[in-house]
Amino acid sequence: MSNIISQHWTTDQEKLEEFVRNKTGKKEMLLLTAHLEKCDECNKRVQEERDIQAGIRRFGRLEMKRRLKLRLRRDRSRRFEWTHVASLAAAVVIVLGAVFAIRWFVDFKQEKPLTREIILSENKEEKPAERALWIIGKVIEISDESSQVASSVEEKQSQSFADNLNETPEPEVQNELKAGEMSRSRMEESPMKETEVTVMAERKAVVKDVTSSLAKGEPSSTVRSDSESPQAAPAEVKENSKSIAQEKPEAGYHYSSDAVNSPRAMKMDKLKFGDTVGSVVKERLAQPVQTDSESLDKISIAVSDLKAQLPSLRPEEKKAAPAKRGSESIADNKFDFHDQVDTKQKSLSIAKKRRPAKNIYVRRGDMKDLPASMIKYAPSAVHTRLERTSQGILLTFYSYSIKDTAATYIEAVTADSIIVFFRNKQIAYHIPGGLGGGT
């Protein structure tokens, strides 16, 4: 058997493989094929070799297909991951965009500048003075005597003013009446009419009360403060107090700068001018006074001095003022006084035209809130924080010497200076930027 096989060419493995792979030459191929037609065993071996090679090739193709499939699947998963990440990123961008859009819309709806102002001011460390300005007020202490003199002068002036309203006017008070009529006509025209009348009537009552109480040696009951009840005041004052109380803010005294433009109010302002003016009044009134006529004379001199120190009101009177000192009559002084009131009224009305009128609020601040560096100043200096709000000017004073929690009333001296009255003290302020304007 083995001999038969060995006689056949298919026993040569290399030859068989070459034959199956068609690698044999043409001549040899013909001989081998002729042998195969006669030899079944060789034919079978060739067939086996073909099957093996076909099987290996099929396996190779399948392996190749499997590799390709695997590779394509990986590629797909990679592509899917990429698209997944891209879609996720897109979703995040959309959500963020929506959030920003909503925030922008909300900001747009709100008062944008105000919000931004606050944020910006926090960032740029804005100077505190731009928000709240610290000013120093000067305390003017009025002695009992000078107060008495002032009160008696006030009483006389107010009495004559009241008389003139009802009776035939005397020559010396004609100017005052003129001023009064002017003010009344203005009152009719002006929307501040009621307030002016209120202030005038109230001051009349205050002057009367102060005069009578000084005569009795008792403290004034009609000097208004927030802590006192208005029930003790006369009926007229009560009404006035009510009308004023309606305008009053939380704790401080409420003041409308328009109300002080009346000529009557201007008279009182003369005695309580600002910083330097107040000191002149103080000096003049500090001297002992014996009679009413003397005190009135002193006041007229003081007023003349004031005229000289207020060149902005009427410059042409600066020269005439020293000549009048001590020699001219009360009537003359009164005339000058009212003339000056008119001038002042003009200046204030001009100021009013330029800027809108503002309310002034004065209240006491807690000394704990005062910066330590400011406490070192002289005790006569009243550190005051000035804030301009949409409602007006808010003054918060810090002082040990003044015990009152709020001012009794406030007087405008010029367009940028005021005097704040307390029970027994006054503070003169210069308001930087004036009384009007503000925020």
Partner: protein
């Protein structure tokens, strides 16, 4: 020894990559040729799986031909792939119509002299070899594939698989083939 062919176009790069055994070239060809093959297969009521299967087989044929040196660059690669895929698909369709069992090897065509029974037996034997190839481990598997499928020389195989020389590969190939025949005989149950 196959003659190197130089192409100065995109196809030449792909052919070079296929020659170097770079599978990424096949991947690229798959994506490039998918659309025309898909329109062909789906037009003939084929499925997406059919598209992938046909295209993969066409690419394997290309790869095989490039490696055994039988590929002749007469047309663009895409044209060759389309024509091959079309043949494979039509043969598959014909087999489905005749309700014959689908053969994995589309190119193992019978010589026409054998009977259906002989064809069936042949198919069984090929399947047995295929399974034996799966069982046989490396380096026999790679060696047999490189020699019989890729038709590489003994020197090339020695270089690729890290054998000392061609003679070592020759003796190793002999051993591997005997082991494979044993496995096939075992799988066929004593059948020769």
């Amino acid at each position: 020894m196959q003659t190197p062919v130089f192409f100065f176009n995109e196809d030449s790069k792909l052919l070079d990559a296929l020659r170097d055994g770079n599978d990424s070239a096949l991947e690229e060809l798959f994506h490039k040729n998918r659309r025309p093959i898909a329109s062909l297969v789906i037009r003939s009521h084929g499925t997406e799986d059919d598209v992938e299967d046909v295209l993969q087989e066409a690419l394997v044929v290309l790869w095989e031909r490039v490696h055994n040196g039988s590929f002749e660059y007469q047309a663009k690669l895409s044209t060759f792939i389309y024509a091959t895929a079309k043949n494979i698909w039509f043969r598959k369709l014909a087999r489905q119509r005749r309700e014959l069992p689908a053969s994995d090897d589309a190119f193992e065509v019978a010589d026409g002299n054998s009977t259906p029974l002989e064809e069936l037996e042949e198919n069984e034997r090929i399947l047995a070899v295929q399974k034996a190839m799966e069982k046989i481990g490396n380096p026999c598997r790679d060696l047999l594939l490189l020699y019989y499928w890729e038709e590489q020389s003994m020197e090339e195989i020695a270089l690729k698989l890290g054998f000392a020389n061609a003679d070592t590969v020759k003796s190793k190939k002999y051993q591997c083939k005997k082991a494979l025949e044993k496995l096939v005989k075992k799988a066929l149950g004593g059948m020769p």
